[in-house]
Symmetry: C3
Subunit: 100 residues, 3 copies
């Protein structure tokens, strides 16, 4: 049993961002993704205490490190100005790296 290092990229956003996000994933070279319906609240705008609903999906994709970098860069430049969105990256180890 051999494990291979990959990145898990997680995006929490408004449901309306789902379709453009899935297109972005495909363009960046991701081979799959998972979508969770979620509830939540987050900081919006610059004012402290200004808490608002921030959307209702969490989208996760496991990708090679190079794909994660392209994906996060595109999220920052193309999605952050347009959608209420947060994104993070973490380390995971997978079986069958050819799937990702």
């Amino acid at each position: 049993m051999t494990l291979h290092s990959m990145k898990l990229v997680t995006v929490i956003c408004e449901a309306l961002a789902r379709e453009p996000l899935v297109r972005l994933l495909t363009e960046c070279g991701a081979h799959g993704y998972t979508v969770f319906p979620v509830e939540g609240a987050g900081a919006k705008g610059g004012r402290p205490g200004d808490i608002a609903e921030y959307g209702n999906i969490q989208l996760e994709a496991i990708v090679p490190p190079a794909v994660a970098e392209v994906l996060l860069t595109r999220l920052e430049t193309d999605f952050f100005p347009r959608y209420t969105i947060i994104a993070h990256e973490s380390d995971v180890r997978v079986l069958r790296p050819e799937k990702f």
Copy 2:
């Protein structure tokens, strides 16, 4: 594109703990959270094999390391004696650290 180290604190608990948990998050300085409806089973009490439903939400918050420490300490002292709950922490890297 610059990533910043944060902690992802995950709590799995009975739905009835949701409101006090959200209050705790706010008190500890978290700026947002995500709630997932879940099913599951877990060890309850000390007897091996004593598996019971352990609740139906998973709550996640991304916070700076210092907030994670306060949050986990408060969970241990105030919530563990009172609710069926598990909690864990992991490392994530975020864009836009000012959101957390």
Copy 3:
């Protein structure tokens, strides 16, 4: 407040694999698990661009490292040939290690 290193094993699969997966978890020594209903798409078969629905649950279990190794080995040998499934492992730190 003391944290203890554990492994988070995550399995994304067809809902029909749920019951045999839960049996596997028990056999391998996991003391609990969480199930999320999800949607998603992933690479299926060897052909690039051959994207298909890959199932509708994500199952997560927090286990000691030795249990994770047994579990991932069994997934590879017994489940991967039979089900549409992906699996990954990551590092988490828990309170109350005796629960896992």
